[in-house]
Symmetry: C2
Subunit: 90 residues, 2 copies
């Protein structure tokens, strides 16, 4: 349930994710979680800032969390990556 | 005064900034602000996580803030960049 309104940041352009967040809000979501890992963390912050400043001014930064996740590399060795979760809510 | 215990993330390797934060803590700082703009935001999160998980376990994430700053490009045109400020405290 909590995962419903999540946007995971990947390799696409920043505006693709901005559009994804704005679409969820326009469909009635009161809260959207923007999640990213590793080098895409900067893009997650850009997405949150662009949505708030240009598209949905009444969205507030409800919470920001950072943590470390363990993933398995292609070679099978464990790898630690930082992650961020930015919660925007009305 | 508030700027005293700040570490600005730039182009050096992640461990340089980890060392800078750990040094400030070892010199008695009760609070360290990690600041970054644009693409170095991911590195700021890495630095905060490495310091907390590997070096100074009693440091807590006191606050995380994101915002948009306006800078002037080399050509003189205004440019908006996202920024992050991660406050670690004992």
């Amino acid at each position: 349930m909590a995962e419903e309104n999540s946007v995971f940041i990947g390799k696409k352009g920043t505006m693709s994710y901005v559009l994804a967040v704005v679409t969820q809000v326009n469909q009635g979501a009161k809260e959207v979680n923007i999640k990213a890992r590793g080098k895409t963390i900067s893009k997650a912050v850009d997405v949150a800032e662009i949505v708030r400043n240009k598209f949905v001014q009444d969205l507030k930064l409800a919470d920001i969390n950072i943590s470390t996740e363990e993933v398995t590399s292609a070679e099978g060795t464990p790898l630690k990556v930082s992650s961020i979760e930015i919660k925007l809510s009305k």
